[in-house]
């Protein structure tokens, strides 16, 4: 589990477009580098970021080594129903970081 920062409003009006910002702590090792004895450093990046809202997928990003360390994303979704927004980051080791936020639609 990596440290994350998520900005999402707690409440929104039905039909309102809300902006979501997320940051996850990860070195995003490209796999192109070598260590001080010339041994290649294996790639270790977050390769997928999925966001579901009320159980439905609303955003997905496929990441490559070209994404900066500590991947940041900002995107939007329409507030439809009161429900849970679930954020899942998966890295090359298969480690999943999951965070949840409740959105109340008024």
């Amino acid at each position: 589990m990596a440290t994350t920062r998520i900005v999402v409003p707690a409440t929104a009006k039905k039909g309102q477009i809300i902006e979501i910002k997320t940051l996850v702590q990860h070195p995003m090792i490209t796999g192109h580098g070598r260590d001080n004895v010339g041994k290649p450093i294996p790639r270790d990046i977050i390769n997928a970021f999925v966001v579901t809202y009320g159980g439905e997928k609303v955003f997905r990003a496929d990441l490559f080594p070209g994404v900066a360390a500590n991947p940041f994303f900002a995107f939007s979704t329409i507030a439809t129903v009161t429900g849970e927004i679930v954020f899942t980051w998966t890295d090359d080791q298969g480690v999943e970081t999951v965070e949840k936020r409740q959105l109340t639609v008024i």
């Binding site: 477009i17 910002k21 070195p27 090792i29 490209t30 192109h32 580098g33 070598r34 450093i41 809202y53 439905e56 609303v58 955003f59 997905r60 990003a61 496929d62 990441l63 490559f64 080594p65 070209g66 994404v67 900066a68 360390a69 991947p71 940041f72 994303f73 900002a74 995107f75 939007s76 979704t77 329409i78 439809t80």
Partner: protein, 160 residues
């Protein structure tokens, strides 16, 4: 019979040929590398995504700084003109680089539930280069936008 070589003797044919051969080999390596990066990489990266579909310029605004002091983290905003309705929306936004070791940088899968086609992220740029954003629409068409970035300090692709 055996001719003793004088240290300052002019170049003979054999070492010259050997030298030329190694030069050719070296330049061959250079050429192979050049073919992997640059406009060809960009064209190939786009072709792999579009699979031959035509790419229309416009509708996509790729915002990157003109000058990036540090290529390790360059903030990027992409806005696509789209009603983002069930009938007409952006499905995926692909970001392709001209000179990074890998052409693909990131892909954003959005849909009508996004409400608008606007995403932000931070990317790495290995060199001064062009970056292209391709918007794959629900009707299968592609729109594109691009930006050129001068990178002062390249992303350290050699370390980490």
């Amino acid at each position: 019979m055996t001719t003793k070589q004088h240290p300052l003797r002019p170049l003979t044919r054999r070492p010259v040929l050997a030298g030329l051969a190694s030069l050719a080999a070296l330049s061959g390596v250079r050429l192979a590398h050049a073919a992997d990066s640059g406009p060809e990489q960009l064209a190939r990266g786009i072709a792999e995504i579009t699979k031959g579909a035509t790419v229309l310029p416009g509708r996509v605004k790729l915002e990157l700084p003109e000058l990036a002091e540090n290529g390790n983290s360059v903030s990027m905003t992409i806005v696509v003109e789209s009603p983002q309705s069930a009938a007409d929306h952006v499905r995926t936004i692909h970001v392709i680089s001209e000179k990074n070791p890998i052409a693909d940088v990131v892909k954003f899968h959005i849909g009508p539930r996004a409400g608008r086609a606007r995403v932000q992220s931070s990317i790495r740029l290995a060199d001064t280069q062009r970056v292209v954003a391709l918007a794959e629409m629900s009707d299968g068409r592609f729109w594109s936008g691009e930006a050129s970035v001068i990178v002062a300090l390249a992303a350290c692709i050699d370390a980490g």
